[in-house]
């Protein structure tokens, strides 16, 4: 009755992963994220996308701010700039202005992008600079171990809102669409 399930052998699976070539975009440093974190998948997605698009590693610049998500460039085999808290977008804009042959990817979290760096979003959107911004929104400050963020839910308890978060969370997509981001 039961269809025989083809067993997955670790060695074979690894061989398959290695052979598609996207590992060339992975740096030798192992990610410092916690086990189970969604950022691993994002990193995997980015390396696969770069591979599919045949973008040479030497032409990729990943710019990040501060936070868990912003450790991203260290784990990619490309040029990287781990900048200051909230300043991802203006630094990435500068890189693109200086050399538009580069593929520029800006990376950050919700604290970096919507709190301290919130002021830059509208201007990056209206300028429509040719770059990709990956904002990993987990609704919490992770690197500093659990403080409230601009996208934390109402009533959420964190170390800085020990009773409850009383601030309305920001609605990122509505905001970005209204600024004309594409």
């Amino acid at each position: 009755m039961n269809e025989p399930v083809k067993p997955v052998y670790l060695e074979e699976k690894l061989e398959e992963i290695r052979s598609d070539g996207h590992l060339a975009y992975r740096s030798k440093s192992l990610p410092t994220w916690c086990p189970g974190c969604g950022y691993f998948s994002v990193s995997e997605g980015v390396t696969k996308a770069l591979k599919e698009l045949h973008i040479p590693t030497k032409d990729v610049v990943v710019v990040s701010g501060i936070g868990c998500a912003s450790r991203f460039p260290f784990f990619l085999e490309a040029y990287g700039f781990h900048t200051l808290h909230g300043r991802t977008l203006p630094v990435a804009t500068g890189v693109k202005v200086a050399n538009d042959a580069l593929t520029v990817v800006a990376v950050g979290g919700d604290g970096d992008g919507f709190a301290i760096g919130g002021g830059h979003i509208s201007h990056a959107a209206r300028r429509n600079v040719d770059m990709t911004y990956i904002l990993m929104d987990n609704g919490i400050y992770g690197l500093t171990k659990g403080q409230t963020s601009p996208t934390s839910a109402l009533g959420f308890k964190t170390s800085t809102t020990p009773y409850e978060n009383r601030d309305q969370p920001l609605r990122p997509l509505m905001m970005l669409l209204s600024y004309g981001a594409s």
Binding site: K58, Y79, G80, G94, V95
Partner: protein, 594 residues
């Protein structure tokens, strides 16, 4: 008389055309081959009744500042000009409106204030202008015609400059202003010349492209362009805005890019991004903007990214006095930011220096992979000088330490520790140079590291690599003028105040005081050996500067442990030569004046 030294003040209300008249005057005199230094004072508001003062000094010999005493005062509005009568020297001239349009209260007319010994020239400015142009708007041009006849100023040069100035307007505007000039010239034929102001022939005739009259900010722009600036990011702020405005015109023509960002933080962030990507990148701001930028400046130091920051200082703290000059951002420029973040800071002392420092800043930033701050101030940014440029481009197009070919298996070390502490630098797009830079302390590969040993070694690297900047070619980081050997009084000065210091030194020498003056152009890293050598020769040392605390004096005495006499002024105006001279005299006698 062969040697000319003529200073004219024009004073009026905002809207009278005071600054425009001064502008035509200085351009015409420069066109005729004279050396010119000019500085205008104007209110923060564009219209209204604020006071405008244009001062123009015309000479045949090289001079370094404006004079305290002018030879001629032209009043376009007595209510403002009366308080400047005292600036006119004995036997100098005062030119004013002698047919006011309304009755004036007693004491409100210039004629009541001209001092004994000064020569009054009443001129019906309005009437002459109305007869020539059927409007009184060109009164400011009428007085220029009057000056031209009285002092034998070059009429042809004035005609050219006036035509030039109005060439974007309808032709009648230029023609009408030329008529106003000629009417003023004609009116002056009816006057006996009683004052002793004279103008000799120019010492040399300007040879087109070589002699240029420009402001400090204009010279900064020229320096940026000649050094091959690739990207500029800025946010408007007085008195630095004109740098960005001029670059916005010139950079696209040179294939370079300029972007007005949303704030100063983004301006320097993008500048650092562009510097990281290998472009010669700069931003320009004033003190309040620099205060916003220092966090990013620290990132530039840590990540070893070349970038250039022009800072034109104004009165502070906070919003302070936006249209007044001051030198109070030395501390911020040299020390601002978190941690031990040594950077290069240069402060040019004149307009030619603005050009040289601007271009050299890109070389230094690239060679030492660090932010370079150029400290100007409103007085230097806005004042006009005639500058002689060499026809050859004096700036190196590429000073970056290249990555040598490395083994395929070997990882590129962006922060490799080397003998001169400067690491070979790869930029995005270079094959095999992939690396990540960070504001975190890092190892040679650029990977985050917080080991005590690594932090010690990297801190030493970031500081000691700058030692090479002290020996960078074709740049006077520090220079002594005046008497050699032991002197009674040495003047140690920086920025725009050095011009006045040099004039004061020469005046002191003429009085028999042994005196020399040293300009400190590189404020960080400080050329301590050169300064120590100078101080050792001086019985007394005076440090004149436009800030309350004596920031250069603190910097130097902090590093050299020698007490210095300070002359600190925060009036919003340039330091007066006489004030410095008075202190020098007192110190030479063995005591400081109060």
């Amino acid at each position: 008389m062969d040697s000319t030294d003529l200073q004219i003040i024009i004073c009026g209300s905002a809207g009278d055309g005071t600054i425009a008249a001064g502008d035509i005057l200085k351009r015409a005199m420069a066109r005729a081959g004279y050396k010119v230094i000019a500085f205008d004072l104007y209110p923060a508001e564009i219209r209204g009744f604020g006071k405008c003062v244009a001062r123009v000094r015309v000479t045949t010999e090289q001079v370094y500042s404006l004079k305290r005493r002018s030879d001629v005062l032209v009043s376009l509005d007595d209510s403002h000009a009366i308080e400047h009568v005292g600036e006119v020297r004995d036997f100098g001239a005062v030119i004013f409106e002698n047919a006011p349009i309304a009755r004036l209260r007693e004491g409100r007319h210039m004629s009541a204030h001209v001092k004994p010994g000064q020569v009054p020239y009443g001129l019906a400015q309005r009437e002459v202008c109305e007869r020539a142009t059927s409007s009184s708007r060109s009164r400011n041009i009428v007085v220029l015609g009057f000056l031209a006849r009285m002092y034998g100023l070059p009429v042809a040069a004035f005609h050219e400059i006036i035509a030039d100035k109005f060439k974007t307007k309808a032709p009648v505007v230029g023609e009408s202003n030329i008529r106003a000039f000629d009417a003023g010239f004609e009116a002056a034929t009816a006057y006996f010349k009683l004052d002793d102001v004279t103008l000799g022939p120019p010492s040399h005739v300007a040879e087109g492209a070589d002699t240029v009259m420009m402001t400090g900010n204009g010279a900064v722009v020229q320096g940026c362009l000649d050094a091959g600036i690739g990207s500029f990011f800025g946010y408007p702020i007085t008195p630095a805005t004109t740098i960005m405005e001029r670059l916005a015109v010139e950079m696209p023509k040179a294939g370079a890019r300029l972007l007005q960002t949303e704030d100063e933080i983004s301006a320097i962030a993008a500048t650092i991004g562009a510097g990281y990507a290998g472009s010669r990148a700069a931003t320009a701001t004033s003190g309040p903007g620099l205060a916003l930028m220092v966090e990013m400046l620290g990132l530039g130091v840590m990540a070893e990214v070349p970038c250039v920051i022009f800072v034109s200082q104004r009165g502070g703290p906070s919003t302070g006095m936006p249209t007044k000059t001051e030198q109070s951002d030395l501390n911020l420029a040299v020390f601002g930011g978190a941690g031990d973040a040594q950077r290069i800071v240069l402060a040019p002392t004149n307009v030619e220096g603005c050009y040289r420092c601007a271009g050299k800043a890109f070389e230094l930033a690239e060679k030492f992979q660090t932010p370079v701050v150029i400290l100007l101030d409103l007085y230097l940014s806005n004042r006009y000088e005639t500058v002689i440029f060499s026809k050859d481009n004096i700036f190196e197009p590429n000073c970056s330490k290249a990555v040598e070919k490395q083994d395929p298996g070997q990882a590129y070390q962006r922060f490799q520790l080397t003998d001169d502490f400067v690491s070979p630098r790869a930029v995005p797009g270079d094959v095999g140079g992939m690396h990540t830079v960070t504001g975190l302390e890092h190892n040679e590969l650029g990977r985050p590291s917080d080991s005590g040993e690594m932090h010690t070694r990297m801190s030493a690297k970031r500081h000691r690599k700058l030692e090479g900047a002290l020996a960078h070619g074709d740049l006077n980081i520090c220079k002594r003028f005046g008497d050699e050997g032991p002197v009674d009084v040495g003047i140690l000065a920086w920025g725009s105040t050095f011009g006045e210091s040099l004039e004061a030194m020469m005046a002191a020498q003429a009085e028999g005081i042994r005196c020399s003056a040293m300009k400190v152009v590189m404020l960080s890293p400080l050329p301590v050996d050169l300064i120590a050598g100078f101080l050792a020769d001086c019985k007394e040392v005076l440090v004149p500067e436009l800030n309350y605390e004596g920031q250069l004096a603190n910097l130097v005495s902090g590093q050299l442990g020698r007490p210095l006499s300070r002359l600190s002024r925060v009036t919003g105006a340039p330091m007066q030569v006489e004030e410095i001279l008075e202190q020098v005299r007192a110190l030479a006698k063995g005591r400081a004046a109060a």
